[in-house]
Structures are given as C-alpha cells and as structure tokens.
C-alpha cells in the first residue's frame, strides 16, 4: 500500500479553561491517500474544524495538541518548530476557508496577493510569477483572467472570490488541501460549480483533499471516503457510498434520515432526540448513549473503540463480536 499523504494517529486536542480541560478531539485516526477526497462531516461542535486546524498547526492557546501524531507524507509535522511549520503551511498544505471575503485582504489587488504567495514558496521571477498567477486563475475558471487579475476582492462575486481563494491555495502545488466549509456561504447554483472545480483539481493534480462540511449532500457529491464525527470522536468512517446508503452507527443512521430528500416523500423526518453534548459535559461511555435508540448497559460505562466491520470502521458496541447484542442487529 502506498504511503498516505496525510496520516493522523490517535490525535487529541484539549482546551485548558478555568473550569477544567475540555477535550475537543479525543483520539481520532485516519489517512488520506494521494488524489483522495476525505469528507469530514458532523454537526456544530463535533470537532471537525478543530481537526483541520490541528493538521495545519493553527491551534492557538488555550488549545493544545495533547497527544497523537500527524504525519505528512510519512514525516511528523505536529512537533515542528513554528518557523518550520510556517513553511509547510501554504507550500505543502493549502487552505480554503468558509468565507472568501475574510480570507482575502481587501486592500490588495488579487494579483499582488497571488504573486506574493507564489514568490514566497517558489523562486520564480516577478514576471514569471504573474504569468503563473494568470494560469491559476484560468484553471479555477475565472473568465478573462489577464484583465481580472488586477481587480480588488470586492469587485468579484462570492463564487468568483472563492475561486480566487482556491487559486491561492494551489499556488505552491500543495500535496494536501484542507477545505473548511468551502461552499457554505454560497448559493446552491454556485456551490455546484465550486464542487465540480474541487473534484477536477483533486483528479488532475493528485492533491489529497480534506473536505470539512456539515452538508451531507456536498460530501456525497465530492468525497471518496467520509468520516462522521460526534463529540470529538469519529463515529464511523468508510467509503462514501457505503456510509451514505448503509450507515452502521446509530448516529450516522439518524443523521442520514434527518435530511429531507428531493426524491422520496416522508411524512416525518427521522429525528434524533436532544442535541450534541457540550464539551464540558460529555457523558461517560459512548458519548452518543443518551440519544441512542439502541443503547444498552455497556454503552453507559465503556467507550467503544473503532472496529472494522466490512468496509466501515465504526465505534459502536453493537458491532463488537464479544457484545451480547451483536446478533440482534445483524
């Protein structure tokens, strides 16, 4: 098996507060291969954005990485000194954030921002960098890039701005792109265009993409594999078709049923009672147990570890062979 581009091993992220230590990420592991899109999905507070921030080394105090390893193409990056990490960021890992207006500097022309980024990470001359910037804008689908390059960010529409941000992330041809809710601020028709663009880039450049979003539809369209997060842990991870059409974890099942569909009629949507626990009050055992319709005694005391079940890895006692209840579900 070829070496994965990104490998996260038992990552733990904590926030130290006056009321004690909050575990935002509590032991998660996953890999992303070259050219693969991993979707990370979950509701607010599940820890999906913190995972992205941890990978690019942008966890600020009082947050800290409390354990585990992050490997980029086989080399650890979680313990790099800040100056070295700064060189990895942007050059080897690109970033796309939710709001394209705040990730661009409104006072500088798009050309200045692109050329500065290109020249920071490569040794191209100013004119070669400008040519590359125009090529990048053309690649992300901005019409007439040689004219548009000298515009300011406010002169672009939301969708076009997000294309500029994607061009910025591609400047140094990174191995990995972390896209945190890249289409959430956009209208559906524009979202469809951005999704198609991300898919094409991953395919053509072999870039590994970690796509963080709360929108299951975006994941189903874009990702190869998907990780469903709940309260700082991965509840289920597997190939996207498997997880979407045949989810195993009770939370993943509820999540899929809660989405209104365009194809089928439902009198009522599946509803998961309650809401995600606060980080300060994560229940013992399985964090999902107070909301789970299949809960049994073991769930309340023992935390389920991820186990392989056909193509899925699922953290649920229902699928543990040693558990008494396993036959009942199968």
């Amino acid at each position: 098996m070829p070496q994965p581009v990104l490998s996260v091993r038992d990552l733990r992220v904590e926030f130290v507060t006056r009321r004690g230590i909050l575990k935002a990420i509590d032991g998660i592991s996953f890999d992303i291969a070259k050219g693969e899109v991993l979707g990370v999905v979950g509701e607010s507070g599940a820890g999906k954005s913190v995972t992205g921030s941890a990978v690019i080394g942008l966890i600020d105090p009082p947050g800290r990485i409390a354990g585990g390893e992050i490997l980029l193409s086989g080399k650890r990056i979680d313990n790099l000194p800040p100056e070295e990490m700064r060189r990895v960021r942007g050059k080897r890992i690109g970033m796309i954030f939710q709001d394209p207006l705040t990730s661009l500097n409104p006072l500088y022309r798009v050309s200045e921002q692109l050329i500065e980024t290109i020249r920071t990470h490569t040794n191209l001359s100013a004119s070669a960098a400008r040519k590359r910037a125009i090529d990048l804008l053309a690649e992300v689908g901005i019409p007439a890039p040689e004219r548009r390059i000298d515009s300011y960010p406010h002169e672009f529409s939301g969708g076009m701005r997000q294309r500029v941000v994607i061009a910025l992330a591609l400047c140094a041809e990174p191995e990995l792109i972390i896209a945190d809710e890249p289409t959430t601020a956009l209208d559906v028709s524009v979202q469809a265009q951005i999704i198609a663009l991300l898919k094409r880039l991953g395919r053509e450049h072999g870039t590994a993409i970690m796509l963080v979003t709360h929108d299951m539809g975006v994941i189903a369209e874009t990702a190869d594999r998907v990780a469903v997060m709940y309260a700082g842990r991965i509840a289920e991870i597997g190939p996207v078709r498997e997880v979407v059409q045949n989810p195993l974890h009770p939370y993943a099942k509820g999540l899929m049923g809660a989405i209104p569909s365009l194809e089928t009629d439902a009198e009522r949507l599946v509803q998961i009672p309650g809401s995600m626990p606060r980080l300060s009050a994560i229940p013992p055992g399985c964090a999902f147990n107070p909301r789970c319709p299949f809960v049994f005694d073991r769930c309340r005391v023992e935390r389920p570890e991820p186990i392989q079940h056909s193509e899925h890895r699922v953290a649920c006692h229902l699928y543990d062979q040693s558990s008494v209840r396993s036959e009942a579900v199968a």
Partner: protein
C-alpha cells in the same frame, strides 16, 4: 371570483433607492438609481396550506415576506389577509384586529430573542401587548402551556435565551408566535441556522402544530429539499419575479422553467443516483442593472431574441417564452 383565498397577494412591487447621496449627485452628476427587489409578484394561499417561496440570495423572497406581514410598505400592489387589506389606509382599524393573528419566525434565533428577558416574559409579550389575558396567574399558566406545546418544559420559562441551544431557541420563537393565537405564520428561513438533526426536530414540530392548530404558513427558504418536505405549493423566485409556481410534487417531478431545472440539478445529491445533470452556467446578475426581457436569458440555453426583449408573463404556472411557444417541451427534464 367571489370566494377569496386566505392570503391574496396581487402584483406586489418594491423598489429600493440605492442612489448616491444628493450632494454627490449634484457634484458628480448621475441619476437616481433604483433596485427592483420585488417586481410584480402575485400568489394566494388557502387556509391551512403551506405555501413556499424558494430562490437564491437576492431573489427577493424575504422582501416579499416582510411586505406580507406589513413590516415593509410595498411600492405598489396589494396584500389582503382574510379579506382585510394590509396595504390600504382605509382598513386600518380592521387591520389592527387582524395583527394578532399574523406572526413571524425569523432565521436567527440568537438575534430574534431579547437576551435580557427571561423566556416567560418573551413568550408572554404578545399576550400582554394585545391584552388577551387579564390576570398574571392566567398568563403564567398559558405560557407554561405554550412551552409544553413546543416541546420545552414549563419550568424553562425562568431561564434566559443564552441557556438554550439554537434549536430550543427556535422553539421559544415558535411559542411566542403562537402566544397570540396566530393563524398565519410567516417563516423566513426558520431552520437555516440549525444543524440537520435539529432542523428535522423543528420541521416535524412545525408540521405537528399545523395539523393540531390548523395554521397557515408562508415558508421562505433557499433549501429545495426542506421546501419540498414542508410545502404543498411552491413559487420559485429569480431576481424579484416568480418564474414558476406549482404544487410541490409537480415542481420536483416535472420542472418547467429552465431556471427551476438548473436549480434542481445543482442540489447535491445525497441519494447518489448518479443522474445526468446540466452544468450550471453563469451567476445571478446584478439586480441594480438586470438584463432586459426575461432576466434569466443570459444563463438560459433556450434564449432567443424575444427572450432578450420581452418580459414573459406568468401563464399556466410558468413565466417562459420557450415553454409558451412550445419550443421547450415540458417533460424534457423528467
């Protein structure tokens, strides 16, 4: 037509003045500029029905909602609810009596509840404003009843909004809307700020309440799947106009207008049916200077010269020359 619908909206129009300040116009020249946020919108809603307006940002759907409840005066056109005009000055006394029967639920439950008021005071506000119940004891018991109705505990009335999650806050907003025995509720993106599992709870609650209390909803949303789940009839808006209006099932099974078809194709597909889709072309034009004729013509694969000159009327539930002329078959997308 003698029988009137519960809500009748007729040729509603709203302009916003987006001109530069007077001094700049005097010194630099330049005309007054107007943005047509809503342009000739008509629909009606039967009692007990859910009618939805769907569209992307800038389509004017929220402006319509605000004009229907009377938060924004229309530039021209009329709104009548239960036979009482919301727009003519003559009916002001009757309108005052109608007010309590109309309520609104907003998108952001963090902004629509006063953070310094306890929940029971928030929910009781419409009761006190309209003097519906006299004694404090009866008000308190009615508030408790309303909180239970929306799935909260009567004891939650003593808490402040910050102690609740987004979904629970939206429940409080619904309880407040019901406090004055409202019949008609305008919901402006009521679940857009919520997570999917919480969204499902709120949508289920809204449907249960409709069944129990016979409520009429005007439902505004950009999310097509949510609209399909909630509404019996749907109007699709594009740049201030309704381009297609039809019953929910029909709209999704056989979309007519090219914009509706494009919009349906753009929705990410959770079912992963792998259906063939037309890629989206272009973006919504600037509403200050919209294209002439049919505003969708620059993005439309079926546009011809007539589409660029003449605004298509809404005939047979769709505003499209290509369909009216028979150039575009209705079943093509199905």
């Amino acid at each position: 037509m003698t029988e009137h619908s519960y809500v009748e909206v007729n040729d509603l129009r709203r302009l916003f003045d987006v001109s530069k300040p007077w001094l700049n116009r005097m010194l630099e020249g330049g005309e007054r500029q107007y943005l047509k946020a809503v342009d000739g919108v008509s629909f009606d809603i039967a009692r007990g029905e859910t009618f939805a307006l769907v569209g992307e940002s800038g389509s004017g759907k929220s402006t319509v909602a605000r004009m229907v409840v009377g938060l924004l005066p229309p530039t021209s056109g009329t709104v009548a609810i239960d036979g009482v005009s919301m727009t003519s000055a003559a009916a002001s006394a009757e309108r005052q009596r109608l007010r309590r029967r109309i309520q609104m639920i907003f998108q952001d439950p963090y902004a629509s509840l006063n953070p310094r008021w306890q929940v029971d005071r928030i929910v009781a506000e419409p009761i006190r404003a309209f003097r519906l119940i006299e004694t404090e004891r009866d008000i308190a018991s009615r508030v408790g009843e309303l909180l239970s109705l929306v799935g909260l505990h009567p004891a939650d009335g003593g808490k402040y909004p910050h102690e609740f999650s987004g979904g629970q806050r939206q429940r409080i907003a619904i309880a407040r809307a019901l406090a004055s025995n409202a019949e008609f509720i305008v919901c402006d993106e009521p679940t857009s700020a919520l997570d999917v599992s919480v969204q499902a709870q709120i949508l289920n609650l809204m449907r249960d309440l409709q069944d129990r209390l016979g409520l009429t909803y005007l439902f505004i949303s950009h999310n097509l799947a949510v609209v399909r789940h909630m509404a019996s009839r749907i109007g699709v808006m594009y740049l201030g106009r309704i381009v297609e209006i039809s019953n929910g099932r029909e709209l999704f099974a056989r979309p007519k207008h090219p914009y509706t078809r494009m919009l349906l194709d753009a929705v990410p597909d959770v079912g992963m049916t792998g259906r063939q889709r037309i890629p989206v072309r272009g973006e919504i034009p600037n509403p200050i200077n919209p294209p002439s004729g049919c505003t969708f013509n620059p993005r439309c694969p079926f546009a011809n010269d007539r589409c660029r000159m003449e605004i298509p009327p809404l005939l047979g539930g769709v505003a499209c020359h290509a369909i009216h002329e028979g150039r575009l078959a209705v079943d093509a997308a199905a």
